[in-house]
Structures are given as C-alpha cells and as structure tokens.
C-alpha cells in the first residue's frame, strides 16, 4: 500500500474497501480479546479456519478475529453476520456444528444462544441481549467489527475521516474549541477538561510539545483501556494525531504496560500500518503536518499511571511523581508542554470531530458528557466491559446490564474508581454516574473500575485490601503516603484480626487527613478513600470489629468460628474427609464435631456440607457452643416403614 496524499485519496480507499466487501456475505466475528483468549478463543479460531477450509467455504465465509466484545463472562463469543447470531461459551467441539448447522443450514443452535435468566427466553441477536441493549457503545462498539491487526477494517468504517476533517477543514484552534464545547473530560481518573488542557499547551511558547497516551491502566479488575488498545488501536491513534495537530506537537508517546502484550503488539502493528498509509510521519495526508509516535512499555508500577510519574519514567528515570504546581501541559516531559490523556479520552476525540460537539453532549449529565466505559466485575452476573451514557444510575448498570448479584445474594456495595475510589452502599444505587456525582458521594469516577460486592463482603477487609494494594504501589517518595499508608495498613489489619482498639478509627482519620492534605501526588491524596468511604457508609462494621470483636459479614478469619449444628448434621462424613486440618471428629452415624483448637478456618467444611443439610454455620462475636457429649452423638434414624 502506498501513502495517501489527500482526503480525496482517502475517500477512494474507503470506497474501494467497501466495494470489495459484500455486507450480505457471511462473516464470523470471533472475539479475540484477552478475556476470550483466556477462555480458549484461539483454539476456536484455529478450528473455525480449519473447518471452513475443509468444507470448501473460503470464498463464501469470512472470519474476523476482533477485539473485545465486552461480555467477558460468556466468552469465547462468536457473532455471525449478517444475521447477528450471537453464540456464547463457544467450545472447540462446537465448531463443526456451527459450520454445518448455522453457516450452511441457517439453523440456530439453541444451546449456544443467550437465555434470559428470568424469562428463559432465547435471544439470538447480540443487540437484543439485555447486557448490550441498555448500553450506548459509541467508543467501544466498533471493537466487534474490526480486526485490530488490519487497518482496512478501520478504514471500512470511515476510519481516519476525523483526522482528514481536522487537518483540512479545521484550524488547530477550532479543533480545541470543538473538544472544549464537547466538554470532554479526562477518562483516566482526574476528569480534567481535555480541551482546556490542550489549549494550555497550544498557547505555551515552547515550540517543542508532546502528546502522550496513558495506557498504564493499573486498577485491579479494570481493563477498559487494555481492550480498547487491543481491539481498536487506530481509534486511539487517530485521536492522538488530531490532538497533536491541535496542540502543535510533532512527537507523541504511547505509554503502555508491559503486562499487556496483546495491546503492545496491536498498537505497534497499527502504528506501522498507519505509517505506511501516511496517517503518521511527514506531511500527513498531504496536509504538511508531521507527527511521529513511539511506544514505551511501562515496567509495571501503578504509580506510573500518575501523569508526572509517567513522564519521569518516559525520561528514563525512576517513575516518581513531581509536584504539579506547574502543570504538565506547560512544563511536562523533558520540561516541555505535554498533553497527556488516557486511552479512552483519545478514543473519544475522532467521534467528537466526526459528529460534532453537539452530538457528543446529547449523552451525559450537566458536568459529564458523552459515554463512559466501565469494567463491571466482582459479585455480578454479567462480568464484562460496558459502555453507558454518563448519568445512567448505578442501579441500571448493575442490575439491568450487569444482571444483578449471583447466587441469590444481596447487593452490599459497589466500589468505583479503582483502589483509591470509594465504596457506595445500597442507598446510593440511584446515583447517576458522573465525575462530580461520584466525587460528591465520597467515591470517584477514576478510570471506570466498578467492583460489585455482595452481603458476604466485609467492608473493613475491603478497605484493608485496597490500602494494602496502595501501600505496595506507593512510590515511597513522600512521608504522608509512604509512612501514613504503612500505619493505616497496620491498623486496618489489626482491626480485621480482632485486635482493634478504641481510638483506632480516630487515628485512621487523622492519618487520612495528613495523606489527603500533604501527599505529593494523587495516589497519596486519594489513598485514604477506601477507608473513608467504608467508614462513612459502614461505620457499624468497624465498630463491630473493634468493640465486639465481631465480623458482621462473617468474613474475617480471626473473628469467626465454624460450628456444626448437631440438630442438622446427618453424619455424612464429607466434611470430615475433606478437612485438611483433621479437625473434625465423627463417624458414620455419629454427629460430627469441629475441634476449635485444630480448625484453621479454611472454610472447606462450610463449602462441602450438602446444601440440603446446611449443618455448618459461621459464628462471630458469640462463643462457640460446647460440643454435645460423646454419648449423645449417635444419630438414631427411623427406618422407613416397610
């Protein structure tokens, strides 16, 4: 392919690609994102290709290995176009049947389609499945129709049209104006208006400027940016090039985690292809604008997602933040004006340029416009990536799209915003998601992690878990974060072990104040959030742990005991055999008893006791009843009447 020299040539290429593609032709789109990859999509792909070959269908059936479709719970996912037949949990052994029945016989395989858990109704089309139906997938939607390794797929949907529009019909100032009007706020966590950030850099006198993609996504359980970069790298690149044009940068960086091998691979390939086509390099599309981009692989430190630490790491130094009193868009990478935005923010830019700010602001709330991708994980039926308009309520996301809580359990809290976000309780389920709304409620948008917790979750332990994560990831440069978190973790650990003392809550609050007010960077400043938000909404749990040495969720090991209810025990011996500590005594026909001194509280007995017996109970805050006397343990069963 030779370089494209003008917008007209680009249009001709679109036309050529579109004319070569018959929309009525059967196309099997197979999700090959990281999650489906893990559930075996590679093997499915191999067999599909083999089977198509074997049946001589190469001319009539296309197969496209796309990026993440989002419904990771049910991977590997296949969507067969043009009928949009959607199959879940596709296993290698399903492949011959899919080809013979669905591709050749036009017959739907019932077993593989979605079944509505309530109505038991089978839903065949992807867009009609509740998980997808309530989403607005403006950014993420193209993932399902693009092979990220093939730029033609991106061009087939009008790719790089926004770049051509910006370069040839808009001044850099007009681009900035449009992004400002769209009120695009940073999707990485801070929510800072991108247009204002760009404008600051544009106006900075230094002639050398940089644009940077922050793909150092590090929140536990969050993988929105990963899936975007893996699945649609050209959208991110296009946004970045437009941004570079707007601020006047000729060099850009993509800082991506080394732990995201597929994202690294796909974005590198995308860059090579974009260079070949002339979307990168000198005189882009014949506009006279030059821009190059390099990929930098991050060495795996959470703090490097912080903008100044990221830039320090890019410079080849230890990734530690620097004070932000002079903003990075004025003095950033190598002291030059540098615009750093998150993957998802950049991916929104082509949409805004293509459709205009007015289109963009139709989605969202007063302060938060557009859509947001959330990674919906934890105790939720439909684990996956969801894109919703800002302003959708937590309830709709969790119950309508997410399908609610599995195993008939009750919802307890949702943790938003990553490790330094906060936990919101049931009373906040009707909160519309937006930057300001979440912050006001004591949590934050962050980069879009959403961890759902059920009634079995101990909120003190949740706080302890996140503080532990942050302690581990603190860079250690400043005292309030390094030392403050060290102490907070010690206290929280102590509380979950039943060694909490009166005054611990107040001490934690004091440590929180110091971390919030005096830490160097956003990691430390927001680190107390997991504690503060759980304290705000679940104070009673802290008090139960400290004052009564009781864990209300029956989770904290040191505060619970396992006990076999002699009324319910049927002496089946399953728990006795499975107990790894040999703590359960009993024999056939003899009620089992747990020796509390030997019990390691691993919970195995609780899990293996047949649900119809339900003899094993967890106790907390109450003494374990004495075992019944040896002589009373024999179970006398009435023989069934002959």
């Amino acid at each position: 392919m030779s370089r494209i020299h003008s917008p007209e040539e680009l249009e001709n290429i679109w036309k050529r690609i579109q004319s070569e593609r018959d929309p009525r032709k059967t196309c099997i789109s197979l999700c090959s994102g990281s999650a489906c990859h893990a559930s075996g999509s590679r093997e499915v792909a191999r067999l599909l290709i083999e089977e198509i070959e074997r049946q001589g269908l190469r001319q009539t059936v296309d197969i496209r290995r796309t990026g993440c479709h989002g419904f990771c719970e049910r991977g590997p996912i296949i969507v067969i176009h043009p009928d949009e037949i959607c199959y879940f949990h596709v296993q290698p052994e399903d492949v011959p049947e899919i080809i013979s029945k669905t591709i050749l016989g036009k017959e739907v395989i019932d077993r593989l389609v979605y079944t509505d858990p309530e109505t038991r109704e089978k839903i065949i089309r992807e867009s009609e499945i509740p998980f997808y139906k309530f989403q607005v997938r403006t950014v993420f939607g193209s993932n399902g129709s693009i092979d990220p390794k093939n730029i033609d797929d991106y061009l087939a949907i009008g790719g790089y049209g926004a770049l051509a529009k910006a370069l040839f019909t808009m001044s850099p100032e007009q681009v900035i104006e449009e992004v400002k009007k769209a009120n695009l706020r940073g999707r990485g966590g801070g929510g800072f208006p991108a247009g204002r950030k760009w404008e600051g850099s544009r106006k900075a006198p230094d002639p050398i400027k940089y644009v940077i993609v922050n793909a150092d996504e590090g929140d536990p359980g969050a993988y929105m940016d990963r899936s975007l970069l893996e699945g649609n790298p050209h959208a991110v690149l296009e946004g970045l090039i437009i941004g570079a044009y707007a601020v006047g940068a000729h060099e850009g960086y993509i800082y991506v985690r080394q732990e995201y091998p597929l994202a690294v691979e796909n974005v590198n390939q995308a860059i090579r292809q974009a260079e070949e086509y002339g979307f990168l390099g000198k005189d882009i599309l014949g506009s006279g604008f030059d821009f190059v981009v390099k990929v930098h692989r991050g060495a795996g430190a959470f703090v490097c997602g912080e903008s100044t630490a990221l830039m320090t790491a890019l410079e080849g130094r230890v990734g530690e933040p620097r004070p932000k009193y002079i903003r990075s868009n004025i003095k950033g990478l190598w002291g030059r004006p540098s615009v750093l935005n998150n993957v998802e923010t950049w991916a929104n830019v082509p949409l805004i340029i293509n459709h205009g700010a007015d289109w963009f602001i139709q989605f969202g709330t007063e302060g938060s416009k557009g859509t947001k991708i959330f990674s919906l994980v934890g105790k939720i039926v439909n684990t996956g990536l969801v894109e919703v308009p800002m302003g959708m309520t937590l309830r709709d996301i969790i119950f309508k799209i997410g399908g609610g809580i599995p195993n008939g359990k009750r919802f307890k809290a949702v943790q938003t915003g990553g490790p330094s976000g906060g936990c919101l309780p049931e009373s906040h389920l009707d909160l519309p998601v937006g930057f300001d709304e979440l912050t006001q409620a004591g949590s934050m948008m962050g980069s879009g992690g959403m961890i759902v917790m059920d009634e079995d979750t101990c909120m003190v332990d949740v706080a302890r878990y996140f503080i532990e994560f942050l302690t581990d990831e603190s860079c250690g440069k400043c005292v309030p974060c390094r030392e403050g978190l060290r102490q907070m973790l010690k206290i929280l650990t102590r509380i979950t072990q039943g060694k909490g003392r009166e005054g611990d809550i107040e001490l934690l609050e004091e440590l929180s104040e110091t971390a919030i007010e005096a830490s160097l960077c956003a990691l430390g400043k927001s680190a107390p959030n997991p504690f503060l938000s759980t304290l705000k909404y679940f104070r009673d749990e802290y008090e139960a742990h400290i004052l009564e040495k009781r864990c209300p969720a029956l989770y904290c090991k040191e505060l619970i005991a396992y006990y076999i209810d002699p009324e319910k025990c049927q002496a089946c011996m399953i728990c006795g055999r499975k107990c790894p500590a040999g703590a359960i005594s009993g024999a056939k026909g003899k009620i089992h008893v747990i020796d509390q001194t030997l019990c390691t509280k691993c919970g195995t007995c609780f899990e293996v006791c047949p649900t119809r017996f339900g003899a094993i109970r967890k106790l907390s805050g109450v003494p374990v009843p004495d075992p019944i006397p040896e002589e009373n343990r024999t179970i006398i069963r009435k023989r069934p009447e002959q």
Binding site: Y325, T471, G476, K477, V479, E483, Q487, K490, E517
Partner: protein
C-alpha cells in the same frame, strides 16, 4: 531577574522570580521546618514538613513551600492549626523510624509530637534523600541510591562506586539526620566492597 514582594506571616518579603516560598521565607529569616531541603540541592518535596497555608480564592489551601514557586502578592501563613496538626503527624510517623534523631526531637518539642505514637520500625532511615541527592547532584558520583519502592524503599551504596569514591569524600555523612547512612556505608564496606580496594585504605 524580576523582584517582587509577597506576604509571609504578615510580613512583606522580597523575592526574585524562580524562588520557592521556602527560599523566600528563609531569606527573610522566617523559619519553616524541613527535613529534606538543602540549599545546594534541587527541591525534592519528600518530607512535606514545610507545608504552609496560602490564601487562595477567598479561602486558603495547603502547599508545600519547598516546591511552591513564590509569586507576587502571595499571602502565606507558615503556621495554622491544620498545618501544625499535619506537621505533628509527619513527625510522629518519622519518629517510628528514628526516635532519637536530634532534629526530630527538636521539632517534636515544637509541635507536641509524641515519639511513641506508632510502633517502632526496624529501619531508622527517614528517606529524606539528602545523601542520595547530594551524591548525584553535587558530587555526580551516584555512589548511593534508593532501591525498591514504597515502604520497602531503602538507601543502598553501589559497592563498586562506593569503594572507589567514598573513602576520601564522605561529604554526605553530616547530612544524614539519623546516622542510618553511616551504618549502611559501614555495612556495605564490610560485606560488599570489592576485595583489596577498601581494606588497604
């Protein structure tokens, strides 16, 4: 260089462009406590003890004076109940490491810090980074550096460089507020210096 005035604790103070609030205060004889600042070194902003309050948009906010640029007309308060509370906490956190460090004891008296508020930690380094930065910025030898991160972060000498450079320098020794540096040096010398390079000296 443009000069201007700002107000620190009610006093009009002259400063030049490029100065930090801490430098402006020190030049005017106003004391602000600090553990990681050194006039020969780039501002670090690590200990956060020099936190002060500045007037901002009708209210006030906290900034760290060793890295906050002095601006014309800026109104600074070096003490306030909040500032004092935070300094006290920072000192208490540091005293978990180095309860006997003279400078910590002196500040502790001033701010009412309780040396035993937190359980003692094994390492008595307070991570001010003076040794590391002095060796890098002033001596440009990089004989001592930080290793690991977060709560596992420590200072460590690079034995090969240290064996060559440190024996007749040791300018970092008096900078260390806790003597942890000296301990680290002796340990490195004893355990890891390349054979024949240290013993002879």
């Amino acid at each position: 260089m443009t000069e201007f005035t700002l107000q620190i604790d009610g006093k009009e103070v002259r400063a030049a462009e490029g100065m930090t609030v801490l430098e402006a205060a020190q030049a005017a004889g106003i004391a602000i406590p600090t553990l990681c600042h050194h006039e020969k070194l780039e501002p670090f902003g690590g200990c956060r003890l020099c936190i002060v309050e500045i007037a901002s948009r009708g209210g006030s906010r906290l900034v760290v004076s060793c890295v906050y640029p002095a601006e014309p007309g800026l109104v600074v308060h070096t003490r306030s109940p909040k500032v004092d509370r935070i300094r006290k906490m920072i000192l208490e956190l540091q005293m978990a490491h180095a309860p006997d460090a003279p400078i910590l004891q002196e500040y502790a008296k001033e701010y009412g810090a309780e040396p035993d508020r937190f359980e003692k930690e094994a390492s008595f380094c307070i991570h001010c980074g003076l040794c590391v930065r002095y060796c890098a910025e002033v001596k440009q030898k990089h004989a001592v550096g930080f290793i690991d991160r977060g709560i596992r972060k420590e200072i460590a000498f690079v034995p090969e460089i240290a064996a060559r450079e440190c024996w007749n320098c040791k300018e970092c020794f008096p900078l260390c507020p806790t003597s942890y540096l000296q301990a680290t040096y002796v340990l490195t010398e004893a355990m890891a210096f390349p054979r024949g390079e240290s013993a002879s000296r």
